[in-house]
Structure formats: structure tokens, C-alpha cells
Symmetry: C2
Subunit: 420 residues, 2 copies
């Protein structure tokens, strides 16, 4: 007997037929004797429709009212799943965010979960009742509905799992697990990982892999909630992952690195096209220059990722290059141009025709030469590295976007990730 | 300066453009210096869609979950109206039923409003903030969402008006007031009434006129809330009803009879096609026979309206005729047939080809002969009366449905209701 939280996204609950399929997954776990809480998104497309209505009502609108409108989507799916489960003889009830309550910060539209008192839910779960909980939404300090921002249902699921002390949080999604890289690029050779550590998953999420929302991985890591990424298209009555002994699929278990027996030095190759590069030439090389450049960008709420400042050649000027999200590219250029007098640069140039390719692996901590191997493999293929950034468990490089596929395939092979 | 509650139905909020039109009505009242609360329905068609999904999920479903799903509709419209009002510079916020809270009974799907603590709303209204409140929904004793049943938004509006001690509750609908009869039948001659008493409106509502929900009129009568029925298609910037001095249109004011200066004996002619007639012939005429017939119907939750028991001719048997709603006709016949042994009747016959025509007017209390005039007028036109029922302020007759238009036109003329 285990306590499980199952999360289903918008495509899994897009209509009543699909909700019926979700119910079969839930019933299977109940029949196996498990205690089950379910977290749902709104029907696919519904949130977009609601957001469009808000924009039509007024392009600039009160985030509190936006939350009221948009949160109606999950209210529909939780009620419908409870009805279907009951019709299958499974005791179930729906919970809106404010009923649990899922307490959040007051930042409407992108609130953060602050507290879930799991005692009441646990009581119901122990009585054998399935809790069907609206994801993506919560209750702010002002007693008004909040939403967590796009993809927030993953975070809801992990937070509920932490609150009810679940043995596992199963995220049903439209892929069947976490891969060594994007299978669309490295076709037959990409491998599904049986396990991946929280740290690696976190780097993957922030480096462009879209399987889980970054915040949900952070939460899972902090609360040590094992997260199983699996496909909602699996046959509900097919083979299931074991809860005891060595983990075998379907799906990928995101867990503590101690639980990963056979570790690879590198576990995956990620890439992100959401990068734009800005270069400032011949910036006056004096103390405080970094603050002069990046202060105004921070104030404009623009997230700067990779930064390189060249060694000054003449002792008086230097070049500064950095990346920002593609959506903020034009705005970032305007901010810099507006601060030209303070920054004292000669020329501003930029490009969105770049891609960030990253090598990720907790094994890097104990193995030297991972970065060197990357640089030489790319050099051999004639791929020029424009920027480099590293962390304890990843190396990222910015390259010309035209080389994306070549770079990813090369690295996937070089680090021995290709399927045997 | 007055305090007003404005209610808009589903067709008035069917899309963002129409919501913008609603906002113009609201802004006009705010600009005139009034305190305004607004009560909204879901977008037209939306509730039907949500109900259909519940039925698709399971034909027999938990009313508590049905309420969760269906109540999402008003949540969308209140958020959108608040956004539009804010964009016009009007301070506004939305309120879900559970936020006010509108406390109801626990009968999910057709709950009754039990209590609304208006103090908090009044505080906001006095600060000049428009309260945009979701109609049709409330919070049950189990802390779960309830709904009031179809048309419940009228009731929400009147209940809110009572709670905040509003000077008037304006129901914006798709007709421009209450008429002496259905204008589709008595074409140019039907007149819009400037005023009608609560009692007459209550009879009209329960006798087939669909302008206001019966329960909302009851509430208005109990709390003495003046209700203005007016058209949502009126130009928001056109002439408005006066709050002081004699009431003049647009619309019809439903109010205390003391406030109606020029009273007619009869104020209107109503008709209802939602009647089915059942006759039991040669029922054993013995004590307890009424209980034997109507007990099983009550147990089956079938509402019996008109009842006539003939005087027994032979001292041993009698005929019993009664009416039920058309939707319950087949079920009622089955119930009676199932109790044949207890009732001891010889023959059961029935018809849905009947109509109930009613003459309504508080003047009847003090004027004799209203019923006699009705019977003779119908007799002169050769219309046979099958059943009669009366109350203090109305006389209803059941006739062959083929004579509906003739009977309504005749009575409209006989009681002097035709337009001059």
C-alpha cells in the first residue's frame, strides 16, 4: 500500500472520453490498494480561450480578475473526473484550490505555493476517498483566487505530494519519460532514462527540456518527493512500474542521486532556441561597468543568462556579450540604448540566430575533462563556440543555430549516450 | 444617491462585446452617483454545455460535483466584467458565491439562499467600488459550491439587494417589462404595465409567465425590495426611470400594492401549456380515496396542480381529474397504474392537449363577479371549461389547447386590458 499523487495535463482531460481514460488509470491504483490524490489541468485549449477573453476585455487587465476567469478551467475538469470515478464505483470528491486550501503568495498570475495543510486531505485519503484537486490554482493572502502561471499544475502536484507525504508523484504527460536528448533530433538513438537525479532534471528543465516545470523539480528536490514522468497514452491496464525493488519503466523516475545505482558521467544533451545574443563593442573598461550594463536590465525584469567580458586589449575598452530570452530581445536592446551615456559603448549588435547546447551530468563533479571533450568534439565538426557557461553539473555553449542538430547528435554520440 | 443591484442574464453577457454593453449600463449608474452591485449569469449556452458534459460523464451524477462544474460559468463572466469596468475607469471587483459568502441550504443543484451577510459588501459599495457578484451559486453548509437551479440568478440578485438594503433591484432581461399578456398572442393590444404588485407577479410567474423566477418574487415580496424589469437592449445612454416621484418607464416596477395608485381589477392574462390532464373514472367513492391517489404521486415527487372530484352520482363511484406538468405525465400515469389495486378505479385517461388560462389581479379581493365574467365570456365563444381553480387574486381554467389564443384575446378584451 502506497500513497500516490497522479497528475494529468490538458491533453489528457481534453474531453469527457479522455477523462474516462484518466479515471481508468486512477481506478487501477485504487484497486491495487493505494491511496490516491489526483491533480488536473484544464481541458487543452480552454486556458488559451479564457486568456484570450481577458485580453479582449482589456489588453492591460487586473491580474486578480484574470485569475478568477482562468481558474474556472480546472474547476470543470475536477468535477467531471469525480463524476466519472463515482460512476465506476470509486469514492471521489473534487477540491478547488481555495477548498484545500492551497495557500499561495499574492502575486496574481504567477503566484508561488506557500503552504498546504495536508492533514485534512490525508484523513480523506485514509478513508479511501480519492481527492481530485484543481491544479494551477490557489488562494492568496487576500482570500482571492490565484494562479501559478503556465505549467503550474506540475508544481501543484508535487506540492500536494509533499503535503500528504506521498510515496511518489506520477506526472502523466505526452512523452513516455525523460530522454538523453530530444528524440526528434537524435532519432532512433535517444534513450529513455530509467532514473535521473533532481539536480540533472532541474538543469534540463532550465536548459530547454520541457518535460517538467523548473519550479516543480525544485520543490520535489527540497521535499525529496520521487517524481515519475510517464505517458498518459499508456494502456491503463498494461505493465506498471514497481514500487519496491529496482525501478523499471514505464517512465522515468526523478529521484535522489543516491538512488541511482549505475551512474553515467553525462546523462543528457539539452538545447534551447530561446536565446538571443547581444554584444556591446568597445565599452569603457572601468570599475562598475557590469552594474551599468546589467542594472537597467534587471530593473526592466529581463533575465540575463550567459555573460562574457573579453580581456581588454588596449587597457581602455572591452567587449561585453550576453544572452537574454528571445521574447525580451527588442526590449533589452532599447534598455541598453537608453543607458548609452552611462555605459559608454561604441556599438551594439545582436542576433537571435543562436542556440544554447548543454551537456548535463552529476558525474561531472568527480570526472575531469567533460568540458574539454565537448569543446574538441565541436571543433572537429567546425562548430564555432560563441559563449561558454558552466555549473557544477553542466557545460553550456552558445553556437550558430544552423548547427543545432549536428552539435546535439555529435555530443550524444561522444558521451556514449547512443542506444546500444 | 441610491444603492442599486443590477442583474444581467446569459444573453446579455454572451460574449465580450455584450459584456462591454453591460459595463456601459453599470458606468451610467456609477456616474449618476449611485452605489452599484451587479449580479451576472454565465454566458448564454455555457451552462447547457457544462450540464451536457456532466451527463456525458455519467447520466446519474453527484449533484455536488455537478455544482462544481456548472458554477464555473459565472466565475468567467464576473471576472471579465470587472476587467472591462476597470478599463473604463470604474473601480470594480468580482465576487464568487463562496467569497461573499452567499450561504445556502445543502440541497445541491437546487439550493435555497439562507443568508448573505451584507456588511462587507456595503463597506465596499460605500467606498465607491462596484461589486460584481456571480449569480446562481453559493456556499453550502459543507463548505462546497452549491447552485440554485435554473434561473437562480434572479433570486441571487434579489437576495443581494435585500442583504445590502438596496433601493431597487434592476433585472435586465430580453423583454422590456411585464405585459398584460403575452404580446405574441395579443399582438398590438398587449400593454406594458408601469407597475405590478408582488402578489400579482408571483401568480404570473407560477402561472406560466417567464419574466421572473417565482422564488425571486417571493424573496422580493418578503424583503420589500422594489424590482425593476427592463430590457438589456435599451440604449445605455437613453432615458432612465426616475427614482423619485411617480415611476415612469422604461420597464415595469414590481412593488408593494400600496404604491400602485391606479389599480385595475385585473392586471393580466397568463397561460401555461405545461399542463397535462389525467382522469380516473368510476373511482370507489370512500374515505381516504384522495390520499390513495395523491399520496403515491407526492412520493414520486410529482407536483399536482388543479384537482376536481365530481359529485358521486350513484353514491358508490366518482370521477377524479387532476393536472401534472407535461414532463411528468407518463411517469404519473405509471404511478397511478401501479396503485390501481388500492385506488380501485375502472379507467384511466389523459391528455396533454390542454392549456391553463388565468386571470390575475389584486382587485379581485374587493370586486365580486370577476370569475363569473370569465366563465360567461368563454361560454359565449363556445370554449368548454374542463377544470377550474381559484385563489384570492386569480382564477384559472383548463381548456382545450386549440382555443388558447382565442381565450387569451377574449379575456384581454373583456377585462379592459387592450391598449387604447
Amino acid at each position: 500500500m502506497a500513497r500516490l499523487v497522479l497528475k494529468f495535463g490538458g491533453t489528457s482531460v481534453a474531453d469527457v472520453d479522455r477523462i474516462r481514460n484518466v479515471a481508468r488509470h486512477v481506478k487501477r491504483e485504487v484497486d491495487a490498494g493505494h491511496q490516491v490524490a489526483v491533480v488536473l489541468s484544464a481541458m487543452a485549449g480552454k486556458t488559451n480561450e479564457l486568456v484570450a477573453w481577458c485580453k479582449e476585455a482589456a489588453p492591460m487587465h487586473d491580474a486578480r480578475e484574470y485569475d478568477v476567469v482562468v481558474a474556472s478551467g480546472e474547476q470543470v475538469t475536477v468535477g467531471l473526473l469525480a463524476i466519472v470515478l463515482q460512476s465506476m464505483g470509486v469514492d471521489a470528491r473534487s477540491w478547488c484550490g481555495w477548498q484545500v486550501p492551497i495557500m499561495t503568495s499574492g502575486v496574481h498570475g504567477s503566484a508561488r505555493i506557500q503552504n498546504i495543510d495536508g492533514a485534512h486531505l490525508i484523513e480523506r485519503l485514509e478513508q479511501g476517498q480519492v481527492a481530485v484537486i484543481a491544479g494551477f490554482q490557489g488562494l492568496g493572502p487576500d482570500n482571492r483566487i490565484t494562479t501559478l502561471g503556465r505549467g503550474g499544475s506540475d508544481t501543484s502536484a508535487v506540492a500536494v505530494a509533499a503535503a500528504v507525504k506521498a510515496d511518489r508523484c506520477d506526472i502523466y504527460t505526452d512523452v513516455d519519460g525523460v530522454y538523453t536528448t530530444d528524440p526528434r533530433i537524435v532519432k532512433e538513438k535517444a534513450r529513455r532514462l530509467d532514473r535521473i537525479s533532481y539536480e540533472e532534471m532541474l538543469e534540463s528543465a532550465s536548459l530547454g527540456a520541457k518535460v517538467l516545470q523548473t519550479r516543480s523539480v525544485e520543490l520535489a528536490m527540497v521535499h525529496r518527493v520521487p517524481v515519475l514522468v510517464r505517458s498518459s497514452f499508456d494502456d491503463p491496464d498494461g505493465p506498471q512500474p514497481s514500487l519496491e525493488g529496482p525501478f523499471t519503466g514505464p517512465g522515468t523516475l526523478v529521484c535522489d542521486e543516491d538512488e541511482i545505482v549505475e551512474q553515467h558521467i553525462v546523462s543528457g544533451i539539452a538545447y534551447s532556441k530561446d536565446e538571443a545574443k547581444i554584444t556591446l563593442r568597445r565599452v569603457a573598461d572601468k570599475p562598475g561597468i557590469a552594474a551599468a550594463v546589467f542594472g537597467p536590465l534587471a530593473e526592466a525584469n529581463i533575465n540575463v543568462d550567459m555573460i562574457v567580458q573579453d580581456v581588454s586589449e588596449d587597457g581602455r575598452t572591452t567587449d561585453v556579450t550576453f544572452t537574454v530570452p528571445v521574447a525580451d530581445f527588442e526590449r533589452a536592446k532599447k534598455v541598453i540604448e537608453g543607458a548609452k551615456e552611462t555605459i559608454e559603448y561604441e556599438e551594439l549588435s545582436g542576433s537571435t540566430d543562436v542556440v544554447k547546447v548543454s551537456v548535463i551530468g552529476i558525474g561531472m563533479r568527480s570526472h575531469a575533462g567533460v568540458a574539454a571533450k565537448m569543446f574538441s568534439a565541436l571543433a572537429e565538426r567546425g562548430i564555432n563556440i560563441q559563449l561558454i557557461s558552466t555549473s557544477e553539473i553542466k557545460v553550456s555553449v552558445l553556437i550558430d543555430a544552423a548547427y543545432t542538430e549536428l552539435a546535439v547528435r555529435t555530443l550524444h554520440s561522444v558521451y556514449g549516450l547512443d542506444k546500444q
